[in-house]
Symmetry: none
Subunit: 139 residues, 4 copies
């Protein structure tokens, strides 16, 4: 029982932020995988365990796992548990890259419609990267 301290995966989930609960879990797990904190082959907490940790319903966790499995980032084995797929890291990165590209492209479109010239958009990006960098150094 010296193991009382369980490694909590994921920050806290809250209904008070935009995005549905299960989407928050999906995003959080993708981040864990893409940033290497969850390595291919390693096991994920059980539905019940994670649900308890995050104070959400088991069903919500189940949905999140289902979506991740559909994307090929994790796989489930009857009676054994849930694991990060071998290609999980790459698939997760890929998904994030796609998302990033879509978001940046949308941002560029909006900025262009607001009248910003390409050079100005790049300047804006540099500012954003700057902020993001200092923010990253917080932990």
């Amino acid at each position: 029982m010296s193991l009382e301290r369980k490694k909590m995966i994921l920050g806290p989930i809250s209904p008070a932020v935009p995005g549905t609960l299960y989407q928050q879990i999906v995003d959080g797990l993708k981040r864990e995988v893409s940033e290497g904190r969850l390595k291919p082959g390693s096991s994920l907490p059980s539905f019940r365990q994670l649900a308890e940790d995050l104070l959400v319903s088991v069903i919500t966790v189940k949905r999140a796992y289902e979506e991740l499995e559909r994307e090929g980032i994790i796989y489930r084995r009857q009676g054994l548990g849930t694991f990060v797929a071998e290609q999980g890291h790459d698939r997760s990165r890929e998904a994030k890259l796609n998302a990033a590209q879509t978001l940046l492209a949308s941002g560029v479109r909006e900025a262009a419609e607001a009248g910003l010239k390409p050079a100005e958009i790049l300047e804006l990006m540099r500012e954003i990267l700057q902020e993001n960098k200092s923010y990253d150094q917080r932990d």
Copy 2:
């Protein structure tokens, strides 16, 4: 009959694209205003007229107009119609700039989580700007 074609404001609206119908209308009108095709003081089509043009319900257009009024881009007068506000152009540009910033920041976050370094993100942006430019020259 070749004169059937009346000057339509806004491209066609479709339930098949991402974003709700009324959001598509809001975005489209914001674009018209921010890019100067609808000038301050000029009148917008009536609910019923635009609804007919876009093949959506009157209510859907109404909701869109409500949101634009809330943002101070247009104003509505009983019995008179709906008009572009004096500050409509600026407010619309502002809103677009805010949206752009949010989207770009999200994109940066995703890209960073996927492991891209700031320099790589900037490179990605240059590519996107390049595509966008050639796309702009289509008409």
Copy 3:
């Protein structure tokens, strides 16, 4: 024709301000009367004249005059024109006092609900009076 300069009654009417057109006219005329710029017995411009001056429809002016007549502030004589009633000044003042009282009472209720104590409300009022005073000295 040296009379080109006609005495314009009322500031400009605009659809770009809150309140319907005819209500703006009613309010404006009430103000003229209650502040003594239109004296009892003096004549008001004709429908057509005022409509032309204010760039609104004759019907809109007509409605405004009807409302003022209903309130006993003006009266109309077939073929002669429209005049400020003898009691017009008093009635107009009365109406304004009633309106003022209602507005102030509503303001007090809101302020109380926001947690302001009577003394604080009075303090707020002093500030408002101060602003109003300096504003009044503009002309």
Copy 4:
């Protein structure tokens, strides 16, 4: 059967009083929040529940909730319900203070146009505060 009486949030809504139905609901809920009877994080009744309680359409309640969410006083989560935002109390008080200020300023303007001098307006305010006080002691 004497237990039929369930704790109703908000007084009865009526089409007979000034202000639209949904505005009455908005005001009522703002009051609940600004006066602390609805605390941050606590949940509001569902659309359908409140609609039933108040004998209005579900849609009318929806509109009210939409406006409150826009003002940042509450937030809504699909499948979970509607909750008072963390800053709900402050935002609600702020909104009320703004409203109070606007109303008082309009009242002052009307009173000034009716010829009341600042000192007289303050005197009028004192009377109003007096009435309001005794009215407050009713329950």
